[in-house]
């Protein structure tokens, strides 16, 4: 079980690993009560949306866009098909929270989607599930069968006249499909290549119909928020950073796993929950929001709290809440080389600055790592990334450039050492030992 702890747990409260994901368990925890109430009392759509706005829930998929505001963009009274799509294509390196939500609390996602559908006037929905988590996809299908049999999804739900059909779509290995318009293309049975925006999905989405896309954690939070009230959820966190959030902690910590904590909790508390640094070693750097977020030196991170605004102030992004912790045995050049390879490999190739730029960045970092770097390479890297940022169709271009920019900025000396001495500042055997097999507690 990778749900290892919480402070004021909301989404993860009362879960018992693999033994409490079924419909009856969710109902015993108070599940589907909000959907029932909304439908029985025919609560107006605006009222639901305004409660979500009050909670200041910000999208948990990476961009942090306010969810209530996003819902209000939908032309909800326009006749015709509309869709709600859940983004469970979790592929941002370091992120593994949506998998645990789907594994241990799948019905919260289903209820959240049904409520979202009601609020935005959608009658169809898909949950796009990451290709590599086939077992989770199967479980979600089972949960859907349960919900359908109990009448929580389908036609004329609970006799209210509200229809909502929901299905799961299984990805098959493409990071770019996490980008919302690539994801829509993928559901349509095409290559996952992002679309130009505008038009935005709220006006032209799946099959050309108005569509709202939200992350798994965002949607799973909805029933809980409505139950406790938007204001109470907001107050769990801090102003402009409502509620609790799941953080996936990976890398050089003793107990890697998911932790649900109120936004605004100090990073040092989270690190402590994760057992502290492995082998008692010194913290060197942290990527606080998934591999696309800029890296931050360890000492800066130790003084930061875990919320959108504080992490932005520290020079990075909260992103998906994936906290990658690196200790003093880490070679920053080698780490960046692996990340740059990832973006090069996953670029969909549609726009030239991204296709060529990711290839160049990987080539340059690769040659520095392998002792073939030249003194002018660091400026060249900054040049290349400058030509990518802000010039691409989707945010993958920036996602590829930000790690390069921040690694070189904060650890320039290590890159220079590599170029001059043709080897790592951190001896290879130290690196190898530091990243070795780890025996879990």
């Amino acid at each position: 079980m990778a749900l290892l702890g919480n402070i004021h747990g909301v989404l993860t409260a009362g879960l018992n690993g693999d033994h409490s994901w079924r419909l009856k368990d969710y109902v015993a925890r108070g599940g589907y009560e909000m959907l029932k109430k909304i439908l029985a009392e025919q609560i107006p759509q605006e009222q639901v949306i305004s409660e979500v706005k009050k909670s200041v829930l910000r999208g948990r998929g990476g961009a942090g866009f306010p969810t209530g505001l996003k819902w209000s963009f939908m032309p909800r009274s326009l006749p015709g098909d509309k869709y709600i799509v859940c983004n469970s294509d979790e592929g941002e390196p370091g992120t593994f929270k949506d998998r645990d939500i789907l594994r241990y609390n799948p019905h919260s996602v289903i209820e959240g989607m049904a409520i979202a559908a009601y609020s935005i006037g959608a009658t169809g929905g898909y949950n796009y599930i990451h290709g590599e988590i086939f077992e989770i996809y199967q479980r979600f299908e089972e949960a859907l069968d349960e919900a359908r049999a109990a009448g929580f999804i389908g036609q004329n739900i609970l006799g209210s006249g509200f229809n909502f059909e929901l299905f799961a779509h299984h990805g098959y290995g493409a990071y770019i499909c996490g980008e919302e318009t690539a994801l829509l293309e993928s559901i349509e049975g095409k290559k996952g290549q992002p679309r130009f925006k505008p038009p935005f999905p709220a006006s032209f989405g799946l099959y050309g119909k108005p569509t709202t896309i939200n992350n798994t954690e965002t949607l799973a939070s909805i029933p809980f928020i409505l139950k406790m009230g938007g204001e109470e959820f907001l107050n769990l966190g801090k102003p402009n950073n409502g509620g609790t959030k799941l953080f996936s902690v990976s890398g050089h910590v003793k107990r890697p796993g998911n932790y649900e904590i109120p936004l605004g909790t100090p990073f040092s508390t989270l690190l402590e929950m994760a057992g502290g640094m492995r082998g008692g070693r010194k913290i060197k750097a942290v990527i606080p929001g998934g591999s696309s977020a800029p890296v931050i030196p360890g000492d800066v991170m130790m003084d930061t709290t875990m919320d959108y605004d504080a992490i932005a102030k520290a020079g990075s992004m909260l992103g998906s809440g994936a906290v990658i912790v690196m200790d003093e045995t880490t070679c920053m050049v080698k780490s960046l080389e692996r990340l740059s390879y990832f973006y090069y490999e996953e670029s969909c190739g549609q726009c030239t600055p991204c296709r060529e730029g990711t290839s160049w960045m990987y080539k340059i970092v690769h040659r520095i790592e392998n002792g073939l770097g030249k003194p002018e390479d660091l400026d060249l890297l900054n040049n290349v990334l400058g030509n990518i940022m802000g010039r691409t169709i989707c945010a993958l271009g920036d996602a590829a450039a930000l790690p390069v920019q921040s690694f070189v900025k904060h650890f320039r000396k290590e890159f220079e050492y590599h170029i001059e001495h043709k080897t790592c500042l951190v001896p290879k055997d130290v690196q190898w030992a530091g990243s070795g097999f780890h025996h879990f507690e």
């Binding site: 979790e90 590599e132 990976s250 050089h252 591999s291 780490s335 990832f342 097999f437």
Partner: protein
């Protein structure tokens, strides 16, 4: 071309989408076809395309775009080890090296007896359980220490 069982699964997928959007089922149908055949030969892709009433070239584009489709035969047991950074910090490359010792092959290779293929993969969304590997696209195996790898290889014999 494909078993009745697979075709039944095709129809279950097609039913998820609006009647005029059968192409939406292409990813699932290619995956089902691959489950049965082990890999996707051009004629298999063409069969899926015809079944869904879409141009074969459009199905081929999908088969080549997504990394979990195999366009060449692979070993009976495909082990995709995630080596992205979070996993690399917790033993991913050690797992790759250990597999090399045990099987005599590195990433991208298949054992001469056709039993095992080892691949390097990208983040599988399970970084907390590193090292992780995916067996035949279906089974996620986490915390793959040498003992766990031994156990898995024994099971696959």
């Amino acid at each position: 071309m494909l078993s009745a069982e697979s075709l039944k699964r095709f129809d279950r997928e097609v039913a998820k989408y609006p009647a005029e959007q059968k192409q939406s089922a292409v990813m699932a149908c290619l995956a089902i076809a691959q489950d049965e055949k082990g890999w996707l030969a051009p004629e298999t892709v063409e069969f899926v395309a015809n079944y869904l009433g879409m141009p074969p070239v459009a199905a081929w584009e999908v088969a080549t775009f997504y990394s979990m489709y195999e366009l060449k035969p692979v070993g009976k047991h495909k082990l995709t080890v995630c080596t992205n950074l979070p996993c690399a910090l917790s033993g991913a490359y050690h797992a790759v090296e250990y597999l090399r010792q045990k099987l005599g092959i590195g990433p991208g290779e298949t054992t001469p007896d056709g039993k095992f293929t080892v691949k390097e993969g990208e983040c599988q969304g399970a970084c907390g359980d590193a090292p992780v590997l995916l067996l035949n696209n279906h089974r996620m195996c986490g915390r793959m220490t040498p003992e766990q790898i031994d156990r898995l290889l024994e099971e696959c014999k």
